[in-house]
Subunit: 352 residues, 2 copies
């Protein structure tokens, strides 16, 4: 048996930047030239982490853009070339020179390298509960960023109230599925938007009152109007573009539009973006648009509230959270491209 | 002397609708076929009003569009053809069959017809204070809609705080000049945008820390960045379009964008609108965009607060409110077109 092979620390390296508007996996290379770091190589404050699972999210494509193509959404965010790419991930501590972490601790990081093992500064890790009844990868999904984003959108920014009507795009996606369920649990009428018969059926099955298939519905404005003749009070947007523009035309007075992402513009060629034409409809309706981003809320009371509610729902089996689980580190690049081609179904996670 | 001539009730009638994107006065005709209504013609609840002054505001062009060109900003708002056009105005009661109004009362209406005298339902009139030290036309400007809109934008929606930086477009206009002064009075750093040397000088003279001339500044994003290297906390937008898009690129985390109007899209040909491309920059900054509209706030505590503050400032001589005063009912159509060609300077009012 070749022990050298078993000791290989496989890495997915970003070898070149991707021009705006392109979906590709060729920017990545699989590197097997390094070995798993020795515990002896750790310096004070460092821990060695066995990477267990990676979260693959649409906003990652922003980091694939070259510095000169920097996106105004997240300026100066190009990932360094020649290094392992990184995303939110969970892992297990296998060696520690930090007083804060012991071998066996379960951790989450927002910048976990795409490799088998990673030397991490303890300051970049969050210790997760030791409760082994909760699978570690749940902290990437139903107890992680997508679910927290849904909570921020429905509760904090959306101020969703019983009896109101909520519209959500990408409703079968990582965030959307939680938006549907959190809103239904709060007594709203929920209309989901998804892009296939399979996805619309799924959105219906988790409680949406009506579902629009955007690939077959024809004119978006009319489709939304037909599904919500009384108008929209909360619109949770994950796509931007023409669906967002159509939603603007269906808002009620005082409506809240929540932006959590924009698949039509993230990493796109901005010179080719069609642009939003109906923003001025906000004026007479005194409606609002609010961007939400989970990161600044980490460690706040809002996160504590979310975490308690989500953990309770999970333990009670009251949440149906669909994960699109891929296996093997080398499946990560394709998993990043798929949502831009509508080829994912639920929250994408790569298990190593 | 021809007494019939003196008794003519001149009216400015909308004779045809205007296609989107066109600036014209030919849609109006001057009608002198009617006589001033007799007090005897009033029915219960009606009053006869001598129209004293009319407010000419950019949003009026929406009412010039045909029903089939209805603008999503204010759907179903086409003004009836063959009738006198209408806008916010002030007048004096000359005859009354309403218990709420007496001859000599000063009134304001949001739909006062463009004619010398008008029979009005008392329910459509607001009685103004009898304080003769305040000129009646002030209730269209410094104590009226433009000033109230500025207050809503700076105080209610903008939540402007001392030490923050506020950017305002159309800063020499009806609303903008009050935004500058209310924000400066609250201790903000204020950057105005205007379209001529004369206007930028004016904006500077009322207290703005810096002024951008959008006709000569070159790239908007860079011009705003140069004027506000620390970023924008509140942007008060009255124009939409590429200036709004550039402002989005300069927002700080938690910034508030207030939309009070959109001269680039009101009554425009929507198929030709360029569209807003940078709305997704709100996400990571968790910034908000909020439409404001004065009408729903009439009669609320917010209006009372505004009115008290504005009246006090006016009586103390602390507000410099520039009015672009036109004379004669027949000057109203041109006054409606001028702001779309940058040809007004201050709040446009027509004195009859």
């Amino acid at each position: 048996m070749d022990t050298k092979f078993n000791n290989t620390n496989t890495r997915i390296v970003l070898r070149e930047y991707v021009p705006p508007g392109i979906n590709t996996t060729t920017c990545f290379s699989v590197d097997k030239s390094q070995q798993v770091p020795s515990p002896d190589s750790l310096t004070d404050g460092q821990v060695l982490v066995k990477v267990f699972a990676l979260s693959i999210d649409p906003h990652l494509r922003i980091y694939l853009l070259a510095p000169e193509d920097q996106d105004p959404v997240v300026p100066q965010s190009s990932h360094p070339l020649g290094e392992a790419f990184a995303s939110i991930g969970v892992g297990i501590v296998t060696a520690s020179k930090s007083s804060k972490f012991a071998v066996g601790d379960r951790i989450r990081s927002v910048t976990l390298p795409w490799q088998d093992y990673a030397v991490m500064d303890a300051t970049n890790l969050i210790k997760l509960p030791a409760d082994e009844t909760i699978p570690l990868q749940d902290y990437l999904g139903v107890l992680g960023m997508p679910s927290f984003t849904a909570y921020l959108g429905v509760v904090t920014a959306g101020k969703a109230k019983a009896g109101e009507t909520l519209l959500v795009s990408a409703a079968s996606g990582a965030v959307g599925q939680m938006v549907v369920q959190l809103a239904k649990a709060r007594g709203l009428r929920v209309i989901g938007i998804a892009g296939s018969e399979e996805k619309t059926a799924r959105v219906k099955s988790i409680g949406a009152d009506q579902v629009i298939n955007y690939k077959t519905c024809g004119d978006y404005e009319q489709a939304i109007k037909a599904a919500a003749p009384g108008g929209i009070d909360v619109y949770f947007d994950a796509v931007g573009g023409s669906i967002l523009d159509a939603a603007f035309l269906n808002l009620n007075a005082g409506a809240r539009v929540v932006l959590c992402g924009s698949m039509t513009t993230f990493g796109a060629d901005r010179s080719k973006i069609t642009g939003i034409k109906n923003l001025d409809t906000l004026i007479v309706k005194e409606a609002t648009v609010q961007g939400i981003f989970w990161y600044p809320h980490l460690g706040t009371q809002v996160e504590t509230d979310f975490f308690e509610e989500a953990t309770r729902l999970v333990k009670q089996g009251k949440v149906d959270f669909k994960v699109d689980e891929r296996t093997g580190l080398e499946s990560a690049p394709q998993a990043l491209v798929d949502p831009y081609e509508g080829k994912n179904f639920g929250k994408i996670t790569v298990l190593l």
